[in-house]
Symmetry: C3
Subunit: 298 residues, 3 copies
């Protein structure tokens, strides 16, 4: 049995101060994880796939969420015709678009994703969701194009929606170019979310831009955008970016700038330092955050 399971994970710890607090402590924005996954080749081009991913906080040893397998837990079938997976998983728009545009990938105090792409719960009344429980998803890839569609249970596991939430996403990666587009309908009357964005590797830097807009479950319109850059330097890269989000129920806009340097000690281990500052018409108390961190992937 052993041969068919791959154990993988990430240990990430930052010494720093989070935006919105005065505590200088150990943080983990990147989501430390332990996962088990596998693929069985059943012949005739058909494969069975599975994966379960636990999230935890190494600073405290606690599970990162009440759900033990908070990352995802799916089983599926894969062939030339695509890949179907059932279980808990990322919303395809989050995975294929929103999380691809932020130069910080949503990690560290510099993270811009949840503001510019309105994808998470830490931005102003986000319209997009990160994960669904009890969902069925279909993925297809060919010639650099990826498309995906998913539908989820409308019940309590997904917050008790009027209709089944669903999401559609597509992206293209080829040479220096990445572009993506996603639509999500959260299942309530006005709950929807559109996101799009791209990256281009100019050699001296990869520049990113993204835009998102939606209506949250309270019927409030939200929108945002994100501009970012990754600049290779030495064995690492500088990351910098700017994101804005605008919630119609709140006066003014929320703005954030993030900057960081991530130095790769190896392909699997890096150390990094980041700084983030929020401003605009939606005050959040402590406006700055920073971190000095280490991340190991196994």
């Amino acid at each position: 049995a052993q041969s068919s399971v791959t154990i993988y994970g990430k240990l990430n710890v930052e010494a720093g101060k989070a935006i919105g607090t005065t505590d200088k402590t150990l943080l983990d924005v990147a989501g430390s994880r332990l996962g088990f996954r596998g693929v069985e080749d059943m012949g005739g081009g058909l494969k069975a796939t599975f994966g379960i991913e636990h999230r935890f906080n190494p600073a405290t040893g606690d599970s990162a969420a009440a759900k033990f397998w908070n990352g995802y837990s799916t089983v599926g079938l894969m062939g030339d015709w695509g890949h179907i997976r059932l279980g808990r998983d990322y919303v395809v728009g989050f995975l294929m678009v929103q999380n691809q545009i932020d130069p910080f990938g949503g990690d560290t105090q510099g993270a811009l994703r949840n503001i510019g792409m309105i994808s998470g719960s830490t931005g102003p009344a986000g319209a997009g969701k990160v994960r669904y429980d009890s969902q069925i998803e279909y993925h297809f890839s060919a010639s650099g194009f990826n498309i995906a569609a998913q539908v989820a249970d409308a019940g309590a596991v997904n917050g008790g929606r009027a209709k089944r939430p669903f999401a559609l996403a597509t992206n293209y990666a080829g040479g220096p170019l990445f572009v993506g587009l996603a639509y999500e309908n959260g299942g309530d009357a006005d709950d929807k979310h559109l996101s799009l964005g791209g990256r281009y590797n100019f050699g001296f830097a990869t520049l990113s831009a993204g835009y998102s807009r939606g209506t949250n479950v309270a019927g409030v319109d939200v929108k945002g955008y994100l501009l970012g850059a990754n600049v290779p330097f030495g064995a690492g890269d500088f990351k910098l970016g700017y994101a804005v989000s605008d919630n119609d129920a709140v006066a003014g806009k929320l703005k954030k700038v993030g900057i960081g340097y991530h130095y790769n000690l190896s392909k699997r281990t890096k150390v990094f330092a980041d700084y983030g500052k929020v401003g605009g018409g939606e005050p959040v108390g402590q406006k700055t955050g920073y971190d000095f961190g280490i991340q190991h992937n196994f």
Copy 2:
């Protein structure tokens, strides 16, 4: 250390509707799991054994129970003289008899075990238990015969019993024949359970029959029986069966019919469809359930 641990598991998800509800959602009746087990050969015929098994629901990523290692958690010694294990484990009668008779093995909406063999908590006031905490068990096998005895703590971990619960079980498997017999005493004055059953592989089908009777903790007599068949067809088998349970505290009987087809994509992966319907004098609201599922074992 690595070489001595085997990782194994099961990922099972069904799209369907459970009996008793109107929700069409993702289910997992089979009990998705992740386990770690090992055997150390210490020479002289003596072996040390261990195993721990987590249960979870892949539809939601949640632990299936408050106990993380809900499946079992034991350490033991094994030799020609038998196998002693200490910890949390299945009641031997459940493992060696009750779970062997149901053609569905207790899985899917077609499952008959918990009605006909009165072994679980989902039937009418089951007298038999599935697992004990804080138990010591002894197993011996020779020439196709298996016998087992176990005794458990009477304390709060097993529900606070008047005396120590204990269970005895034996079965025989040889050629086309399987037969088993088990007795359990739950530790309270009237709490006891007898189960017996068998299977015979006629080639065109394996036919099963089981009978159980007992008295539950409330002093109520319960009894049941189960008739089942597995019919090989193509790379899979049809499963069908009928189970009845009779609880003296409730007028009438609870009856269930289950039918399904399970198709093996490989030795480790199958897809399946099942239907179950309950009836009789003990109404349960929604009487029918069905599922379309996939299961991968690693």
Copy 3:
């Protein structure tokens, strides 16, 4: 990814009666565990390290604590210059001194560590802590000498201290000799702890002696000492010892004697029997405890 992860663990179960209760049941004082750890050699003498360790009770299948990774969870960098680790981990004085002196290593009903070395929560108002959350530690080893220093977050994760808790420890192991010395400051006004001790292997026996004193968070002075012996016999060893602790807020002293025999079935598996009795001016109800256990390490 698989090749870089080591899975290890311990399964420990004792049938017995704990001091302070009348229940005869299954116990686990040694702390059954499942861990994942790894080291990445990044070249140039630099290594990345990580480890996470879950604790559980095999008698019940429950997690041993609300924290899933209760043992430790760290990521770090290691070189000729030492080893830095961030996350949740043992207090260095516990790891390098207090846990080294008890012939029972804190395990079984004979355990003396928590009384004589005042390191845990089961002794009288212990001044020393076992683990810190959100800590940074530095270790250096050369020529048999080991030194370590660590500092932790003063916040809620460590009980809400006035200042950052910190600890210092050193020990030396060479030939038959082990000696160690540790100081800890828990972060509150009077919260501090000193421990020291040693072992010497005379061949026929290893004799141990330790002393500790401190002030707990309530400002109460506590002190203790421990005398122990491991006497090799057959494929195992007799363990015996005596520990005393004195809490200034309570009349009299708490005394404990422990005796046991641990028989190694292999390098990884042992069976054992132990007896402990407490006495002195601090009554604890049931004064005696005993166990018959099995432990397997993988």
